[in-house]
Symmetry: C2
Subunit: 276 residues, 2 copies
């Protein structure tokens, strides 16, 4: 039994994490696999400005993974506690391939979608981008990523309270950055039917990462939001996190236009697991 | 956004169906795969005497299955409509193995669990058992199952309204028969801590199936329920379905005791996918 606060609506989402597709098991401890998948799934609630209630965890597991399931479950449990949620259901099934499918339940008085962006809105990004992309790049080259890039990859933070703050201040559209900021801006375009201008050189990045690389770094789980002008200092004071204006919603045909130093450049798209 | 009727509680459950583990793809059309998985997942709501609200469907799919996904989705959609529910979320991910993970959302004023059985309750089963077991047995022998056994396998019926009827008449514990009626009685024992006596020769079976085979036939999605004495005629009048008394909750140590023609016999356990 699950309680939904009176007057609020239930918000739900489901996400799957398949070993060898969404993560390389050798890059992560079992605990990190569980933490990361759960935080990523909870990030969908943040994008809708919903507060978490609980998750349902379905693990499909090959026999050889069964002794690592406790570690995975520990990571899931930690991410759930960190989000002030709980585990409200689960399933375990034998399979030939490890996967975690996580359904998240949340509640919101007024949710936030991708379709509400209006001309005149600014575009903002929370935090600093490029960490997960840098970590994956390092692993693929056979080297250890920097500690910060590693932490950003294995320990994403669902921006739950940040999203509520943004929604309360008039945000009109929001998405969590999973495919890369430009590709995800395309999802806002698809839902809003507006033109989004993004200044690539304004993208906030972690140290040592170029803005062009940050633009296509996926699985960030930072938020891209369209909103009226926001007080970035107040945001930083509240969360200890940057809120960076990176562009605007403008008149024009639906699409994403990218600029560097004021000059229009071809959009850099991020990765899309399924089309690989 | 999902609406939960005011005053009711949200009830949730998740179930996974892995090709080659929970079903042999060659036995089923894509539409049947979708229908059966969804009906089976919704059956968990029936077991809790909850009414369906919606489902979230996560499909992990190998490339070679992608042209059959429409058929699977059609079957899911039909099962959802048949249960007066809707699809409220979904995900699709590339994988090496086909699986469907289905989260079901329902609502109940007072749910029904497995732990409430009390001494003096009778045990009842809805419908007739043995169809899915007979169908699987036939396929494994390389022959076509009877039309009725086939239908029982590919088109399980979540006993949603039947469960409400039973709950309204004082049912204390309920489970949907997925592992075989004796094995599932064991789940009621585990939760209730009571002794359950089951008369094997009273098990309702489909034509041509022995009671011993019906006892271990899994994936039935009929209900096993502990309740005060019930009016089976009224049940039949309401649903056109048998309600058969098969035993009782008695004094004694927690466990399942089985009898045939009044003589105690060793329990016949059903299948358990995970332990295979």
């Amino acid at each position: 039994m699950v309680d939904v606060p009176r007057g609020d609506q239930l918000v739900v989402s489901v996400d799957a994490f398949v070993a060898g597709r969404h993560f390389e098991p050798s890059w992560l401890t079992p605990r990190e696999i569980g933490y990361r998948a759960t935080a990523a799934a909870l990030s969908d609630l943040a994008a809708m400005a919903a507060l978490p209630i609980g998750i349902l965890l379905a693990i499909n597991t090959p026999h050889e993974w069964r002794d690592r399931l406790t570690g995975i479950a520990d990571g899931v449990g930690q991410a759930v506690r960190d989000a002030n949620a709980k585990i409200v259901g689960g399933n375990i099934a034998a399979s030939s391939e490890l996967s975690l499918t996580i359904t998240v339940l949340g509640h919101a008085r007024e949710g936030l979608g991708r379709g509400g962006a209006v001309v005149g809105n600014r575009l903002y990004v929370t935090g600093a981008l490029g960490g997960p992309g840098a970590a994956v790049g390092a692993w693929k080259r056979g080297v250890e990523p920097s500690e910060f890039a590693h932490a950003r990859f294995v320990h994403p933070v669902p921006r739950i309270h940040e999203a509520r703050w943004l929604a309360d201040r008039g945000a009109t559209a929001c998405i969590d950055i999973s495919d890369g900021v430009i590709a995800d801006a395309g999802h806002i375009v698809a839902a809003s039917g507006k033109q989004l201008e993004i200044q690539i050189d304004r993208l906030p990045t972690i140290a040592g990462v170029a803005t062009a690389d940050a633009a296509k770094s996926g699985e960030e789980y930072e938020l891209l939001v369209a909103a009226p002008e926001l007080d970035a200092r107040a945001f930083r004071a509240a969360f200890g996190l940057d809120l960076t204006e990176i562009g605007a919603v403008v008149d024009g045909p639906a699409g994403v236009t990218t600029f560097e130093a004021g000059v229009r450049v071809a959009p850099v798209l991020g990765h899309d697991h399924f089309s690989e």
